[in-house]
Amino acid sequence: MSKLIDVEKEGVEIKKSACYFCHQNCGVLAYVKDGKVLQIEGDPEFPTNQGGLCCRGNVALQHLDHPTRINYPLKRVGKRGEGKWEQIPWDQAIREIGDRLLQIRTDHGAEAVATAGGTQRTDDWARRRFMNLFGSPNGFHNSHLCWIPTFMVETAIYGWCPFELDMGNSRCLVLWGQNPGAAGMPEMHHITEFQKKGMKVVVIDPRYSETAAKADLWLPLRPGSDLALALSWIHVIIYEGLYDVEFVNNCCEGFGELAEHVEPFSPEWAAPLTWLTPEQIRQGAYMYALNKPGNIQWGTSVDQIGKPAGSTMHARAILRAITGNLDVPGSDLLTGPSPDFITDEEMEANEWLPEEQKQKQIGADRFKLVTWPGYSRIAEETRKVWGKAPTAEWMCEAHPPSVFRSILTGKPYQVKALLVSATNPINSYGETKLVLDALKAVDFMVTCEYWMTPTAALSDYVLPIAGALERPTITSSYGCSDFLLASQRAIAPMYERRNDYNFWRDLGLATGQADKWPWETVEDAYFHRIAPLGYDVGTYDEFVERYRFHFPEREYAKYQRQGFATPSGKVELVSSVLKDLGYPSLPPYIGPTENEIDHPELAKDFPLVLTTGGGFMPYHHSEHFQIRDLRFLRHEPYMDINPTTAAELDIKDGDWVWIETKRGRIKQKANLTPGIHPRVVFTQRGWWYPERDIRDPDLAGALESNANILTSTADEDCDPYSGAWANRGLLCRVYKHDAELKEAH
């Protein structure tokens, strides 16, 4: 029977909470009585989800008190990974961890302490604040794979990242490697509504995805060949006279040089590289350039193609500029940072990190864009125009694969301690074998988690963290938007769980930062941040209950008033900032990280093209495999393969198969589908099996179906601008799981 909650009943409170299982942070109403959440539902008044909740949002209660959640601080008593733990009080855990970190700082320097984060599930300005005050520049996320390089390239070109899509006034939306139909449901809803009103939808995706199936034009390109497509679109738009002459003349620098640069990149040139026809390429360019105003929606795919990533982002940024689709009604808007509330960056205490420590940031010598050299350069420009800088946590980080290598090689120095928060690097970072070796080798590891993940299992301490309904949330696009959405906690954290904010604050207090953490609770800190907005509220919770959002009045074409936040004040098609950092000032053509043209020998052994990653319902990254009410939908990992290719390999639907790159192999089940090119395979990401033995060496099957065993983080495969590694556009082979056994007998 459906459960009916009587909201009129005495003692039932409605809390305005948020879902925390992806970045959309959908509004949730939680019905609470006596400190217990009775029921949740989507908040119909929340502007993004309007009452909707996806699979993940619906299991908030199953997540909240799941029998395998970590509820108390745990200290390792057996060998690493042996699964023997002692439950200890928080104060003891913080004291012991703090003492150990201070000892490491004394013996090896503050830079020997690194932190690993995951996707946005935390208040990472607090993590950054701790690290800055502690003196280490070596915080990182796998944000290199998710928007951050895009943000920084675009900010180098036109002074901020135009992530705010004014779709309500748009006539064309290009979804570039994004599948909101499986990964961002509120966005998909808005796309559906605007498409009904005439907005064209172009989907660029090797797969016939949930979103591609609804598109006006689907461009199924070879994985990793996005750059050839972007360059040929620029060619078409310039040489067929489709560019915005007025905007280019008044607002852009370097158009002539650009025109010369893209002259060779015709659709006929791009066709064999992208596996599209010249006609398909032209159709896409026409649809975007002729249906104005329009949007290009960012997707993670370009961040994940490795070697050509930075150049592709530059080319894509140029497309917006030459069509004039920047900051005008219906286009991609440059919100800038909020001038009104205190941003994440202003909470990070970046000014407290000494210059000499900044210079020790691992990876900054090779990958300059999202480390201190590039960040400082770009922040200098944004401060001049916007008065503020992008968030440094995310936009200015150590290079994760280089940190893992430093643990193993001691170069440039050895990282001795790793603090892990809201991530499971064994499944989520590139080249699992490298990560696993590093996690086993590091002297000291602490993990803040909801679950005993394969990574947590290898830690010295595991700390229980408060989840979605137990914590407040401010949503402001990684601290880079001029608006914010605010949600409150439905209940106090259960058991001995604490907010991640309190972990960093407590650790700060234990390591001599007492005078730098005036806010006892995260609500105190949030209130400090919103107070300058001037609402007549006395607490953060009151703001949530009475207002919940802050959307400043939208001002279009701000560049007419203040220019663009670049050295010239214009859109720099030819980028002086990239040039200053030692990168090409115009986007050069670079082939996919591994490809049949540049690497014919490799292609003989590994004839298929692999794409990993890509969100799929009902999971998110490496999460939720333990939640029964989701797992029943997809209980095993599946890879997509075209039936023609499968027939050649004697693979039937549902067979277990090996997928192998030169770095290793994994097994997933074959899903035969015509929705993928015969030469391409797609593997699901994130898989581990929480129902199995979590102890080393099985680690809950974390090495069995984990797509990151296939990915590459070698320096030469990384994007030279940002160091983003390669998850897509790699070469692989596929064979039946029992094929080699037959051969062996």
């Binding site: 459960k3 009452g51 996806c54 619906n58 199936a213 689907w218 199924p220 029964r628 929705g675």
Partner: protein
Amino acid sequence: MARYAMVLDTRRCVGCHSCTVACKVHNELPVDMIYNCVTTVGPTGVYPDLHMTHLPLLCMHCATSPCVDTCPTCASQQREDGVVFVDDKKCVGCQACIMACPYGARVMNHETGAVQKCDFCKDRVDAGLNPHCVNTCHQKARIFGDLDDETSEVHRLVHGEKAVRLLEELNTEPHAFYIY
């Protein structure tokens, strides 16, 4: 008296299964029970010329409901507003209704021994709320309402769009309408 119905807009559905999960958690169903699965047809065709449709399913709340007619204990009942439901206490688990239902909409609850099914979240409907599967759908692909109310969206859609019913030839008069 109202006559409740649901419209399923397959042009909007993306096959995300949110309705299935919402139904499951709110109705606290055991792991092997689903009231409202989403079936995906396709992709069909040859790459890259393809088509894919998602079909959200549920109890059709037929006006002439074979499950109600078949039930020997009168556990399966239909309200005047069209909602077909099972009175758990009267159900002896004979499963005759499962055999009779042409839509596979009924499932045995092995924990309680009773047959169960979608009841349009009738307690919520009586309180003026929508069923959980409707509320949770981001895509607004499930639309619920009173078919007899000429101002309702379901009325407008059923009469204004090309709405079809599944297995209409069986003359059970299902009250789930599909738009494609």
